[in-house]
């Protein structure tokens, strides 16, 4: 209930602001925006765009976890691997999206690969560092316990290290899922052939500001909904891990 009330307040404030400002090019009224949203809902290309953005986002998420987790894991258990990889990853993390863009357009031109690769590269470092931090924070007293009983190293890695990694993989997904939409949409805008970002770029060309706002609402909704979904899905599993022994 409170949330609905909050949304209502937000809409009223928006309406008042738009009326006072009276520059639809910067801030269209909620009415215009939702009319545009309604029009979007009637067009098939909207759904194609959403689908395209969703699958790219999922692909990126999968790639980031699939590469980031093992690399981060190795960096976590070995100090020398950590020192060897850290500079390269720090550099990747610091490269501005626009530089990737130049490179990616050069290699693939306009298409789906560009946005996917750019998003992958900009999210991978977070995943690696989060995972490495997780492994490094593994409870040393458990490792010591295992050593007293001469538990084989393989078993220690499988049960203790991998086990203590689980919450970090989950929290990486939680962190990334909120960001992946934004990055995908931006890179679609810059070098994509389809997706919400591309629709936004077209709307910009026609100076159709309400449409830009409407598309933004779609992107934001996707972001918030997926974040919520992941949180709810993970909560149950994570309870087991977060409890103290």
């Amino acid at each position: 209930m409170k949330i609905l009330f909050g949304i209502l307040i937000f809409l009223i404030a928006w309406q008042i602001f738009a009326a006072i400002l009276n520059v639809p090019l910067i801030l269209p009224s909620p009415y215009l925006t939702f009319k545009s949203l309604y029009n979007l809902a009637l067009q098939q290309e909207t759904y194609q765009a959403i689908f395209s953005t969703v699958w790219k986002s999922l692909l990126v998420l999968l790639m980031v976890i699939a590469i980031g987790t093992p690399v981060g894991f190795l960096m976590g258990i070995s100090e020398s691997v950590y020192q060897i990889f850290r500079p390269a990853i720090t550099v990747v993390q610091a490269v501005p999206v626009i530089s990737w863009l130049a490179l990616v357009i050069f290699v693939w031109g306009i298409g789906w690969k560009g946005p996917v690769v750019i998003s992958f590269l900009s999210l991978l470092p977070i995943s690696i560092f989060t995972t490495a931090a997780g492994v490094r924070s593994t409870d040393k007293s458990l490792i010591e316990m295992a050593r007293v009983y001469k538990v084989p190293q393989v078993k220690i890695i499988r049960t203790i290290y991998l086990g203590s990694l689980v919450p970090f993989v989950f929290s990486t997904v939680e962190v990334i899922i909120g960001d992946v939409w934004k990055v995908i949409v931006v890179s679609e805008y810059l070098c994509g052939s389809d997706g919400i970002g591309v629709l936004i770029s077209w709307a910009r060309q026609y100076v159709d500001v309400p449409r830009i706002y409407a598309l933004t609402i779609i992107a934001v909704t996707l972001g918030i909904a997926s974040e919520r979904l992941v949180k709810i899905a993970f909560k149950k599993v994570l309870e087991k891990w977060q409890m103290q022994s």
Partner: protein, 234 residues
């Protein structure tokens, strides 16, 4: 002593400039129970780690005549995301042994519980079972009861003593509690503060049936011991 399970000669240990253990000598017989009482920071845990091969940098001579050791840590150190049974098979995958000791430690029926679902006393019982399933010839107890209520503590101690009568292992207990020390030992070593020495070696001449906190002989032994510790600490 011909049949010592552990012989320590002139053991010294320091961490950098900090001298912790300063020349300990002791021998423990094959099925003897000893307790160590000493101020905190005097090197008790360090000593136990040396015996358990967790700490390999020290001076002096240590002769170990055992193959298997059980180490009950002060904290339960259970892996939180796997259940009781999995925590036990993690160190020693022998179901029959596990079942035997689970029963002896009154944990039957709790195999599927996660550590977080157990009380403090039960977690320490799992910690104990884990130490016992490898059939240790030497059982080490590093202040394992300090966070438990009296009745829980005494119940566990009774179960340990019962098991020891059957299986004849040696026990080293580290504790702050004089009652606990008397209940669990034939001999009590008193340590000085850091750099520590063994300053007293006191035999506890009590029958098993007299090891009962309400027994007159027990109470006598306890007040005797308290007095000595009090004098030594002055």
């Amino acid at each position: 002593m011909a049949d010592a399970i552990l012989r320590v000669e002139n053991l010294k240990k320091n961490f950098g400039n900090l001298s912790v253990i300063d020349g300990w000598n002791l021998e423990i017989e094959r099925d003897e129970r000893i307790a160590m009482i000493g101020p905190s920071g005097c090197g008790k845990t360090t000593f136990l780690k040396i015996i358990a091969d967790l700490e390999k940098d020290f001076h002096g001579r240590i002769e170990k005549n055992f193959e298997r050791i059980g180490f009950v840590f002060q904290e339960p150190r259970l892996i939180p995301w796997i259940n009781v049974m999995e925590n036990l098979t993690f160190v020693f995958p022998d179901k029959d042994k596990i079942d035997f000791f689970l029963k002896a430690m009154r944990l039957e029926g709790f195999e599927d519980y996660l550590p977080s679902q157990l009380s403090g006393g039960m977690k320490q019982r799992v910690n104990l079972v884990r130490a016992l399933i490898a059939d240790p010839q030497l059982l080490i107890l590093d202040e394992p009861f300090s966070s438990l209520d009296m009745p829980v503590k005494f119940a566990i101690i009774e179960d340990i003593n019962k098991l020891r009568d059957q299986r004849k292992f040696a026990i080293i207990t580290v504790t702050h509690d004089v009652k606990e020390a008397i209940l669990l030992s034939d001999r009590i070593l008193i340590l000085s503060k850091r750099p520590s020495k063994i300053i007293q070696d006191i035999k506890i001449d009590l029958q098993q049936k007299e090891r009962d906190i309400s027994d007159t002989k027990f109470i006598q032994a306890e007040s005797e011991l308290m007095k000595r510790i009090f004098f030594l600490s002055r």
